[in-house]
């Protein structure tokens, strides 16, 4: 197990390095795109351009620029914004991380619990009305644009109904956990539900199809032959092996969430997380902030994949020896 973890950790670091190079190349070395021109604005004179290049170090060879930026980002930790010169990037990112993690983890808890309950119930009562409900929820979940759903939720909870039924819904924004669990959870409730709706159905569907498959396996027949009750067979025997697929799906979606759906949700609900920070820095082409945000997001994605790999190996020991 430790050897496996070590190998995976090295692979994860290599992937992070490759991503940092890739992002850097996208912004600094795309043919026909000059970052200096973007910073200097439209119709800047040649002198201005040259001055901008020199002042931002864009006249140096590309690998030097990469090295300098990575040193400022990881070793000196004093990377500054291109737009608000002097504003340090890392404190901004550090402020944003708890917001994004609160959003994603809270939503994940909700949708995983919903999916477990629905999946197990659908397996226990397979062939009844629960099956089509889960299929429909799953398809709708993968078909709804998350930002649109968020806007509709805003419309319902913040508009006319805000004076009556939804008077208890606070205005948009994030409240830190240090101000108490209640306000924190209340401010995040609708963003959580919006995200959870998208994922709960498809997870329930995946779990159900895995569990129904597992119910035909020999070890289930064995468990039943030993006289174990049906619910215990479901929960202790079928559910555990079926979780493998759900866990690996979760790793992928966590990545997609941090980098995508969470970005859109944060923009829609006005949460100042990594996604919103990325979005704002993209608007004014603030390269150091973009780079830092993307790398932090990628770090969490790679970390999630790493944890999923370990969980996978723990749930299914055969994986360790591949």
């Amino acid at each position: 197990m430790w050897r496996f973890a070590g190998k995976r950790a090295i692979a994860a670091l290599l992937v992070l390095f490759a991503i940092s190079v890739l992002v850097f190349l996208i912004f600094f070395a795309t043919p026909g795109v000059d970052p200096a021109a973007r910073i200097a604005g439209r119709n800047a004179s040649q002198e201005t351009l040259a001055q901008v290049r020199q002042s931002f170090g864009l006249d140096q060879p590309i690998w030097v620029q990469y090295g300098v930026m990575m040193r400022h980002l990881f070793i000196d930790r004093d990377l500054t914004s291109f737009v608000n010169r002097g504003a340090e990037v890392i404190p901004q990112v550090q402020q944003a991380i708890p917001v994004t993690l609160s959003l994603v983890i809270g939503a994940a808890v909700i949708w995983v619990i919903l999916a477990l309950v629905m999946g197990v119930l659908a397996t226990a009562y397979r062939g009844t009305a629960i099956d089509p409900i889960i299929v429909v929820l799953g398809v709708i979940g993968v078909s709804l644009p998350v930002y649109w759903l968020g806007e509709v939720v805003n419309l319902v909870t913040q508009s006319r109904l805000h004076d009556t039924i939804f008077a208890w819904v606070p205005s948009l924004g994030y409240v830190s956990l240090s101000e108490g669990f209640g306000p924190w959870a209340l401010h995040l409730l609708f963003p959580w539900l919006t995200l959870a709706v998208l994922y709960a159905g498809i997870y329930a569907r995946v779990l159900r199809s895995e569990m129904v498959g597992a119910m035909n396996e020999d070890y289930i027949r064995m468990a039943r032959a030993k006289g174990i009750g049906e619910w215990r067979v479901l929960l202790r025997h079928a559910l555990r092996t079926s979780l493998i697929v759900v866990v690996s799906l979760f790793g992928l979606d966590f990545g997609a969430l941090i980098g995508g759906a969470a970005l859109l949700t944060e923009v829609v609900f006005g949460l100042q997380g990594i996604g919103k920070l990325t979005y704002d820095s993209l608007q004014n082409f603030d390269l150091p902030v973009i780079l830092a945000c993307v790398l932090y997001a990628a770090f969490f994605v790679v970390l999630a994949n790493f944890i999923v790999d370990l969980l996978y190996a723990w749930l299914d020991p055969r994986v360790r020896h591949v």
């Binding site: 692979a11 992937v15 992070l16 490759a18 991503i19 890739l22 996208i26 912004f27 795309t30 043919p31 026909g32 795109v33 799953g138 398809v139 709708i140 993968v142 078909s143 709804l144 644009p145 998350v146 930002y147 649109w148 759903l149 806007e151 509709v152 805003n154 419309l155 913040q158 508009s159 498809i202 569907r205 995946v206 779990l207 199809s209 895995e210 498959g213 697929v245 759900v246 690996s248 799906l249 990545g255 997609a256 941090i258 980098g259 995508g260 759906a261 970005l263 859109l264 923009v267 990325t278 979005y279 993209l282 082409f285 973009i290 993307v294 997001a297 990628a298 994605v301 790679v302 994949n305």
Partner: protein, 308 residues
Amino acid sequence: MAALVVLILIILMCLAAPLYENYVARTDAFTSNVNGTYVVDGQTKPVLEASTEGLGLGVNPIGPTWSSQFFLGADNQGRDVMARMLFGGRNSLVIGFTSAIICCVLAGIVGIVAGYFGNAVDAVLSRALDVLWAFPVYLLAICLSVVLINSSLTIGPVTLNSGSIILPILIIGIVYVPYVARPIRGQVLSLREREFVQAAVGAGAADLRLLRREILPNVLPTIIVFLPLMTAINMLTESALSFLSIGVQPPDASWGTIINDGVGLLYTRPMVAIAPGIMLAITAVALNLLGDGVRDALDPKARLRGGV
């Protein structure tokens, strides 16, 4: 089947956009109509009224009339939302579909080459896919779009103008390649060990013949199954990029850009944002159901999206 019918109806509706624009709404969907007027109950009213709510800033466009003109109301430039939505649907559908084709073709090539030739080729391609896999898709698409969308791009003899819809098509097509290439690579790896392939190798078949006659026909159903699913995913991605104003560029429209226009009017004229979202959701549901149907017909054993 119902899914296919719904999809065809939506495509026909979008194809009929110019007819709707000229003969039903009698308007121009792409030029701003700030000083336009509209006749209701014999009275002539401006399409945009100065807002009386709040600070009195901004404009209050005409709401849904549910009749031929301004069926869904107007946006903040006084343009007919229904007409724009039909035109926007064309862009959404075209971008979703072509990028899905690009994605599936590229992924097919990468997956087959990596799986078939193995060894060093496979190692290089698989590692590259691993990196893209770990890169959050939306983030990659957003990074590429931000860099490319406002600058014209010259690749060899081809020049793409800024704001061309080719850019979102290429970007969306490329970022999803790992999602399709990975399962195909796995399938080719196992196909290569099968008896009929070994028999063809034993009969002295060349690589190209093996690929064309033995591997490709067996992989093709999987690729076809992915096509409607990728179209749905790509349409959603396109709309998200357009919503962040780095996809389809104005005055061109797509469902995403119209939702973006509608956000500013959300609390006064919610239909501008709601209607294109509903169209998008219906289209995506139809495509997903179609994908499930195609899979059941072609490849019942295929496992997409985890276990289903």
